[in-house]
Symmetry: C2
Subunit: 213 residues, 2 copies
């Protein structure tokens, strides 16, 4: 679809930083700023300006202008299309507990081209959350087959996570976002991203202690 003007190879590390640029540029756009420079982005995000410049060089359709930087609206669109956020992906969520509720209600996914279309639970307590249906877990396979959805979010307690994962895979899911603090045993072709909030916060305290000593 999108053949880049030059065939620069985008580094994996670059790809990892692009979403944060996207968020930053989106905020600047909202504030009505017209131009943005690598330098100021680097500053906001705590990165090296040369790195930002190099990253942006690979994805911007219009070169940055010396002394000014990049047009905010243009850069925003470039990031958006490069990251594919103008396409739309749908996901289901399993485990409509406290965390599940938050994820279903969270509006932030929209500008990243994502949507949670339904929740599943062993014992649904609500019929709907944030306008989306909450269904009993045994309807999951048929729902997935019908809708062709390929992304599943796991927000059940750790002991149930593997079972849920197995069910998701059996029903044709291709990618899993896992909030349960366990590693999942899955076929190689399934993409997994583990989100361990506790470990994430712990990393902060570890770094904090390292600094003190």
């Amino acid at each position: 679809m999108s053949e880049k003007k030059n065939s620069l190879i985008i580094l994996k590390s670059t790809l990892g930083r692009l979403p944060s640029y996207y968020c930053e540029v989106e905020n600047r756009l909202a504030r009505g700023e017209e131009y943005v420079s690598s330098t100021t982005i680097a500053d906001s995000l705590g990165l090296n300006p040369v790195q930002v410049r190099k990253d942006l060089a690979g994805i911007s359709s219009e070169p940055g202008r010396p002394k000014l930087g990049f047009r905010v609206d243009r850069l925003f669109e470039d990031l958006k299309s490069f990251l594919g956020y103008n396409f739309y992906d749908e996901a289901v969520l399993v485990g409509v507990g406290a965390l599940g509720h938050v994820l279903m209600q969270y509006g932030g996914f929209n500008s990243y081209g994502l949507g949670i279309v339904a929740g599943f639970d062993r014992e649904p307590h609500d019929k709907k959350v944030a306008g989306k249906p909450v269904l009993p877990i045994d309807q999951l396979p048929s729902f997935l087959k019908m809708t062709q959805i390929v992304i599943g979010i796991i927000a059940v307690p750790a002991p149930e996570a593997q079972n849920v994962a197995d069910l998701l895979v059996k029903s044709g899911i291709k990618a899993i976002w896992n909030f349960a603090p366990t590693s999942l045993n899955l076929p190689d072709n399934i993409l997994v991203k583990n989100e361990n909030l506790a470990a994430s916060l712990a990393a902060l305290t570890t770094e904090l202690r390292r600094r003190k000593s």
Copy 2:
């Protein structure tokens, strides 16, 4: 406190992986396993076994035994003490909305040596959440001065995040875990970790698309 037997330098990248080893080893301990090898950890976590071995070599107090691997209980303790999870850190949370509730109720922080001791909100709707007090925001400065707590969690909407951050810093906080999808403008000596859930999920879909093409 803990002088390591050998003064191997621990790589930053290693440090980033240790929490996931900790989680994995904790789960194996809970399952009653006695020995664990680099190979199986690598397998569960989708990493290179040599990498895991090298990482563990730097922190284990007892060498792994050929053919068996490491004693699970021993390795768990080594990881725990290396990461400092047997010390205890306390944090306050600002913004007791849906996400704030989840974080306050989340039990998982305990085994990582952390605890949220209080929540703050402009208009507290509950007196307590998960047994911890929820206080009006104007009591934050005095609370922090009294308790000497140095970690703050921001779970307010994006537009309010900077104000909250300023208040936290003014009250003596040293580290911030930010859930609002904005970059914060803070003094250099303040440690920040941004947690953008939408960007995180988006990374999954980006990778998923990359695979398809």
